[in-house]
Symmetry: C2
């Protein structure tokens, strides 16, 4: 998505070897106009997939997932990283390991919110090692729901999350694919939605 790549060039900040900071429009401050266009793009790509629910994980995935849900006219569900006092239903539960935080956390969705036969589009802000995405896929398997695809706003293509998802037969749509960082600049690989630009 050319618009997103341009915005990453303008407002993204490369930190060290492998971190991209996009807190001006995605992960902390949220530019609703860009998010809306991102949500619409995901909806365009999956327009004929019969999506019944958009699923993401708190917190930075919520904005793009919400606009994707709006464009597809379906509900959005966000997986929770912590159990709270109102989560008294049966839960779909999985463990997600974070390489950056070096810890395993539990991710859960109420089993009442995803039904057998649901056709789910999974959305997230970043795809790196793929742990969160694979965790969400695993939750959908538990619910006997079908994952029709995964939409990632930004993919770090030099990490192995992409390959892991493709190895599982998943359809993957990353709107900005980072091939590498060079002298503090972002070099992009062709995005999965390039034909829609």
């Amino acid at each position: 998505m050319k618009l997103l790549e341009d915005r990453i060039h303008t407002d993204g900040q490369v930190l060290g070897q492998d971190i991209l900071k996009v807190d001006r429009f995605l992960t902390h401050q949220v530019d609703y106009q860009l998010m809306k266009k991102i949500g619409k793009r995901f909806a365009q790509v999956y327009a004929n997939a019969g999506v019944t629910k958009v699923v993401t994980i708190e917190a930075s995935g919520i904005a793009p997932a919400l606009y994707a849900a709006e464009s597809l006219n379906v509900p959005m569900v966000f997986a929770k990283k912590a159990k709270n006092v109102t989560m008294n239903d049966d839960l779909l539960i999985t463990e997600v390991y974070s390489f950056t935080k070096k810890l395993t956390s539990t991710v859960q969705i109420s089993s009442k919110l995803i039904e057998e036969g649901d056709k789910v589009l999974i959305i997230d802000d970043f795809l790196a090692n793929g742990q969160a995405a694979l965790g969400l896929v695993h939750l959908m398997e538990q619910a006997k729901a079908e994952v029709v695809g995964l939409g990632m706003v930004i993919e770090k293509s030099f990490q192995d999350g992409r390959q892991k998802l493709l190895d599982q037969g998943m359809k993957l749509t990353s709107l900005a694919r980072i091939e590498k960082f060079e002298d503090g600049k972002v070099i992009f690989a062709p995005a999965d939605d390039k034909d829609f630009d």
Copy 2:
């Protein structure tokens, strides 16, 4: 907001003495249509307040805050409950005590995202004891930004958050105000936006 009260009657679930579960449309599964109307309502109430930013706290506040930001055509910023590897700027930091979780957590916003002179509308999903809301107000004070008001989707009017905010001279707009729970049913007090219905 009549539409919201009706939805709470239909899909809300009273748990024990003082907990309302609204995971079908707000805190876990998100009904974008309702959230959009809620966002528009906040924007109506604060249409002439010169809002420059909408601020919320992750995660359930994000959806209503995003649509409020869209309706007001300003950016949305969500405060973070955990510091991550990209938060290398100066931070606005406060402590928020959770009565339900019985623990104090740190809430932070990058100081670059809120500027002196910003006119901020604070949005959150629930107002109960007011700790999260007061924490956000405190962050805005640190940034020398002006809080033009607080918009709460659901207020538990039998807890003291409302009074604490009013005591600080804040303008408060709660779209559904729960006076009490009676035999598992929700009894509402007049909402702050009733004149807009």
